[in-house]
């Protein structure tokens, strides 16, 4: 029998941003989609997020930022992952992110950005389509 791996994702709030309702709702939606969701809580540094993601062996890191520091925090997470030789964890972001920033973030390895108004079902579908539990 081909054993199916369970998708493991991390939802993290980097930086000095106390607004975690969105992150919690997304964590819940991911759980209801059948994923195992590691939630780190508020006020994480990129370093603590990356170390936790490696220990938890997740397939995806979802970063939430509503405080405007995404241009530093999101790419920093990708950079630290690459420094540790990790290239199979997909990094996505969500929050209040201006259109102009989205292409810049994508160029720095944040694969997908979800902005206000994104539907939970669409996000779950995107993850199911684009993130596969690691093989081997």
């Amino acid at each position: 029998m081909v054993r199916e791996r369970k998708l493991r994702v991390m939802v993290a709030k980097p930086g000095l941003d106390g607004h975690d309702r969105g992150a919690r709702i997304i964590a819940r939606a991911f759980r209801d989609a059948g994923f195992e969701v590691v939630y780190t809580g508020l006020h994480q540094t990129p370093d603590s997020i990356v170390k936790a993601a490696i220990q938890e062996d997740v397939d995806l890191i979802g970063l939430s930022s509503l405080a405007g520091a995404h241009m530093y925090l999101f790419p920093e997470v990708v950079k630290l992952l690459r420094e540790k030789g990790v290239d199979d964890i997909v990094v996505v972001g969500g929050g209040i992110i201006p259109d102009d920033d989205i292409s810049k973030l994508k160029a720095q390895g944040i694969v997908k950005i979800f902005t206000p108004g994104a539907k939970l079902d669409d996000m779950v579908d995107w993850v199911k389509t684009n993130v596969k539990p690691r093989s081997g």
Partner: protein, 321 residues
Amino acid sequence: MSSAVEKVIAGDVRTVARLIRDIDDKIPGVRDVLKALYAHTGKAYVIGITGAPGVGKSTLVDQMVNHYRKQGKSVGVLAVDPTSPFSGGAILGDRIRMQRHSLDDGVFIRSLATRGHFGGLSQSTRSAIDVLDAMGKDYIIVETVGVGQDEVDVVKSAQTTVIMVIPGMGDDIQAIKAGILEVGDIFVINKADREGADKTFNELRQMIDMGHHRYEEGKWKPPILKAEAVFDRGVTELLETIEKHRKHLLSESGGKRPRKKKERVREELAEMIKSRLIQEVLDRLLETGEFDGAVEAVAAGETDPYTACDDLLLPKFRALK
């Protein structure tokens, strides 16, 4: 020795993390790695923490990690949260209370979901304990919600089991009395600044005293401690009590590693046979479609589950007849 085995022994975090995932996902090749790693286990001291949701398990574990780190000890944490029976997903939130340790290379924290299917939790958690042990952690703390046989089994594989309660949980103590009182080596009344702590203390003491026949001369009688984990109160005392229990176990077993006790090996081996057997048999039945066929037949009322079970199993186990 395979490179995975070497890397685990060298403490490589990524290898350890992936191996635990493989264990959890029941990847067949993992057994060979575990076989090779077993010779490198037995050095860590395993502590189980259990109690109802909200009593402060993660907060206490966080403080314990902090104390052990100050003593220069390395720590592994396995935090178990329930899988939703409806979606199969899980929110693993124990890390929230422990994230301050995530930058510390002497600490490895891993969240595990119960996954609920076919009694696999105790097996995979036990294997994860072995991995962290082989990795060289001095202490391994297993935190789980104390409901269900599986979770009780998990804490039973610890050398010292700590049961947490909070004041005003009369009914929950009743539940503990019926279920896991027997497996507790140390009781902690957390949030002890709340009203009713003394009452809870007395109730617990009474229940332990009622089982006094088990605590004859030379036997360990579970102490009851008060703590306010969030303020780091009572944690030093808990760690001291754990050390006392550790010494007690050592003297009881004549200085040998207590985990090697025959009763424990018996239990672990039986558990391993059980989960391996279920896995092999179910895999085969799922592969051939027989399992789903039987599910359809029973659901449609064409047969009863007892007959279906016989039809699935008996041809494979003639000896069972």
